[in-house]
Amino acid sequence: MGSTRNLEHDHLWLNAHTDTRAAVYTFSSCITLSDLNADGDFKLIVADLGTGSTNVKLKVYRGTSLHSETALLDVPTGVTSFYMDLSEPRIPAVAVASGSNIYIYKNMRPYFKFSLPALDVNPLERDLWMQIRDEHLEINVLVELLNNLRIEIGHSQLSTRSQHILSLDASEAASFVQQHSKFPLKRQTIVTCITTLKKALTEEKAVSCLVVGTECGEVLVLDPEAFTILEKIKLCAQDNTIVVVPAILAACGLHAVEFRIVAACRDGSLRLARRGWTEAKLLVQLPAQPVAMTVSAENAAITIALMNQTLQCFSKKGKLQWIVTLPAAACSICQIPLPHQSATIIAVSLTGGLLQLYNGRQMVDVIKAPQTVSGVVFGRFGQEENALIMFTVDGSLMVKILKRTAHFNLQGSASNTVSVAPGTAQQVKLQIPKKTRLFLDQTMRERDNCIMMHRTFQRDLFQLRVDVARACVRALQSCNNPVSLEGAEPVKLSAQVLGLGPLFKMVISLQNISASSLVQGLGILFHFDDKMYSMEKPYLHVPMLIPGQEYPFETMIRNISELALSDQVRVLVVRDGQSQPVLAAIINMPVCDLLV
């Protein structure tokens, strides 16, 4: 029964395949499922980032085994499969975006390479490079002028070549110029994300356009056959200097009829573009950076995982629908359509290896993975319709299959979850500290004898106060106080004895604690039993003391007695021509270790 089932994945998911040694470094955007050979056997295509710079491969899994591998030139940003044309058999193409190019594969063989259109180069910059090519300009002048240009327009607005030469030393610049100056200056942008958009029909195998987000803040819609740019949408208003870079793209609708492209951007904004727009509209400013996003095909609702450990859902108009706080940082998201339950649930993978499945704001299932799941997709794999493919951060591959009989408990609505929470808290008992029998006995005793107790206490308190006052007066009279009082010199004394003996080092530090007045004419005198100790300098002259500064004075003292005894040493701070000391302190000397 659905209602009694607890949140355990074992009931719903079958473990189809686990390969802990797949060693694939990838993201959700680099995984796709596709019927590559048009034989109904869906393959798993995954771009492996390898080490992040080398060993980059496009891998195809057929069933549980690795079917083929293709080396890639650069780190792939995204992989997607789509139908380019109407030719039979219906073989889909695979698009791999990396750097500033999109490589199209058909039958897993390179088919076409699309390069993003070059950006405009600043005319001044182009001019400078022309001049250096024709050797009208010194190299150091070029570098200086480029530097000026950089300050004016910003580092990111320069071409790659200029950026490079600015980072080089003067010695390297010459050879760099020689190597590059003959070629035309280009400024390239980078693909940051890629997705697909159906062209005219909604069918599963209909022709789709590629939708590409670029580093220069544009979204391009490409024609699948001719690879011409059908739409070019700028993400931010013309007059804004900050480039808004898309981080995640999602598209729904049909290109020929009406479509919506939602871009989650690096500045934490969610922007929407629709058919006919050349500029995207700011939908909502998110409170944190976006991590992963999906857009529902039915009502264009946007579900987005943010860096502040929340999952938020927005309507297509950008109105916040709900927020769910996640127990850990989110890593990726994937949609799980359940046509038999006419619902789409959303799987969120969390740091630590948890995969939570949400229907709306309600969590319906939890899948535990041994490691954080880095990339997750759901779809048709092999002959199986409902397969969940997971790649963890340590590179292992897991395939789970949703049971045909699986039934998620979707009945509990949003309002239900709210009322459940306090119920559980209600059952918890308030932890009141317990009291012992003894406590109660003492209470009774106090109740009976409170007057006597009060009086005893008051008497003892007064006695204590009197004793303290007496001790204080005595100390003041004998000048035994380490901090002087008003009237006398504003000086503070502290002493330290270092060493194990018989030779000790005595460090006396004096500090003038007044706000502004200087103290002059003081000396430090040591008073001790000369049978016990001998001292290097029994009198130290004190220079003028500046307020606030602490002055350390050091002297050596040697224990000369045969017996392992210790005695007191009195430190007196005296003023010239005054019989009573300003300050005094008694130092209890440590027992010296005769073995040393």
């Binding site: 980072s167 010459a174 991590v291 109105k319 740091t351 808290a425 009291k435």
Partner: protein, 485 residues
């Protein structure tokens, strides 16, 4: 060619030239675009995979010799999250030097300065950002407001925050603006801000329980209990675990002597807030209201342990100890309370009654006088004083105080019946004793009356309960506000 020959001239050809010595190649050697891996940095950063992210940043910075805006930017953000503000500032300054016009970099520099406590520098930076930004930016205005608050200029803070609110409709700006008004004591203005905030964020965010709670608390402060209860109820409907709202709602229930409901609220709040002194104080006073003194003492002592210098808790401890007739302990807590708040008449009144029980009439009389001085309009003080004087045999003094009580009682019509009852009883006794001023029967009557009086004094103490309860509960609100900051 001339330039290349000079490269060879020192005998060792430059290493760069070795691969293609005489190849004027048709293709330009590929230069990796600086931004080519920004997307990867961003992805790892947002997934909080800072370890990998740092390695990648290091690679990118080495490749571009530090001239990589985005890598520096992300590094700054990571360092800030790790609490290394100074290092993050260096990163953002690097970004800024690469692109002087980018407002975001200036904002981040300012933010780092703000976090380092250099508010005036941060303010300057934000002003610079404001100038650089072509479109008005709520974030800059908001942060300017925060800087002004820290620098103590509330007028300018309000101005900036108002701009921020108009531009952005962001919850934080509303809260900051309302806080500024609260600090200046303009509660009504703060309430209006919160109302506007709730209206707007309700459209944007249905889960704004915190805002509703803050508004509820402000209403409570203003004494508008109906409004407060509405808002707190709304907050709890949105987030049933919201401890602030639970505590405040519980306190309101407690004020209406609905102790069981209040306790059930506190029970939930205790799950998320087990170390709140205000919470334990209120729980303790709930038990006191239910006459479960041992439980009350346990809870109050925990509250006292959590916040030893809290005046309310000390006062309540004194009160509960009086109820259990532990006068010696009560004296301790009450005297501590008077030391912390020497201007509160109620503490002196309780202290006086305690001292009376501790058989210290001189000090008791002093305490009564002090209480009367501090709160000359409180009717219960002269009545208690009269009872005390009567028990001491000072009948004239007692009559005088009783007269004073009656004067005050006429001015405040809504006086507790218990007080009035005690007063009539006392006046009867006084009349009887004044008439038989030197009779032999006096002593017997005296003894009898005294025991009566003693009970009446206890009754007096309990009359003081409602105000006692309310004061500790007004405090938790302040606590919560503090916690929020």
């Amino acid at each position: 060619m001339e330039t290349s020959r000079s490269e060879y001239s020192n005998g060792i050809p430059s290493r760069k030239l070795i691969p293609k010595p005489n190849e004027p190649s048709a293709k330009e050697p590929e230069l990796q675009t600086v931004e080519s891996r920004n997307w990867l940095l961003h992805r790892h950063f947002t997934r909080k995979e800072f370890g990998i992210c740092k390695i990648l940043i290091q690679e990118e910075l080495e490749r571009t010799r530090g001239k990589h805006e985005y890598a520096n930017y992300i590094q700054g953000l990571i360092l800030r999250q790790e609490g290394k503000i100074q290092e993050s500032l260096d990163c953002f300054q690097m970004c800024h030097s690469l692109d002087l016009k980018n407002v975001d970099y200036i904002k981040q520099v300012a933010r780092s300065l703000f976090l380092m406590g250099l508010h005036s520098l941060a303010l300057e930076a934000y002003l610079e950002a404001q100038q650089a930004s072509k479109v008005p930016d709520w974030d800059i205005y908001h942060n300017l407001g925060e800087c002004w608050i820290c620098l103590g200029d509330y007028t300018k803070a309000k101005e900036s925050l108002r701009q921020a609110v108009q531009l952005g409709h962001h919850e934080h700006s509303y809260v900051a603006l309302a806080d500024t008004y609260k600090m200046e004591g303009e509660i009504q203005a703060a309430i209006d801000i919160y109302k506007a905030a709730l209206e707007i964020t309700f459209r944007a965010a249905p889960d704004s329980a915190q805002l509703a709670t803050s508004l509820g608390l402000l209403y409570l402060q203003e004494g508008k209990y109906q409004h407060a209860l509405e808002k707190l109820g709304g907050a709890l409907a949105r987030d049933p675990q919201c401890a602030r709202a639970l505590l405040a709602a519980g306190a309101m229930m407690q004020n209406h002597s609905d102790y069981d409901v209040a306790l059930s609220k506190y029970k939930i709040a205790a799950q998320s807030w087990p170390e709140s002194p205000a919470l334990w104080n209120n729980v303790g006073m709930c038990f006191y209201g239910k006459k479960k003194y041992v439980a009350a003492l346990s809870c109050l002592k925990r509250a006292h342990y959590l916040s030893a210098l809290d005046w309310d808790i000390l006062f309540n401890l004194g009160l509960v100890h009086m109820a259990t007739q532990q006068y010696a302990s009560a004296f301790h807590f009450l005297s501590a309370a008077t030391n912390l708040r020497p201007a509160h008449a109620g503490t002196f009144l309780l202290l006086a009654i305690t001292l009376r029980h501790l058989d210290d009439p001189d000090n008791a009389a002093e305490a009564f006088k002090q209480a009367g001085l501090l709160s000359p309009m409180d009717a219960s003080i002269p009545l208690n004083y009269a009872v005390f004087l009567e028990s001491q045999g000072d009948l004239d003094g007692a009559a005088l105080q009783l007269e004073r009580f009656q004067e005050l009682a006429q001015m405040s019509p809504r006086l507790s019946s218990e007080l009035v009852q005690t007063a009539t009883q006392l006046s009867k006794v006084l009349n009887r004793r004044l008439m038989s001023s030197n009779g032999s029967k006096v002593e017997g009557v005296d003894g009898n009356d005294k025991s009566n009086m003693a009970i009446e004094v206890e009754a007096q103490v309990r009359v003081r309960n409602p105000p006692v309860d309310s004061s500790p509960e007004s405090l938790p609100r302040n606590h919560m506000a503090d916690d929020e900051v």
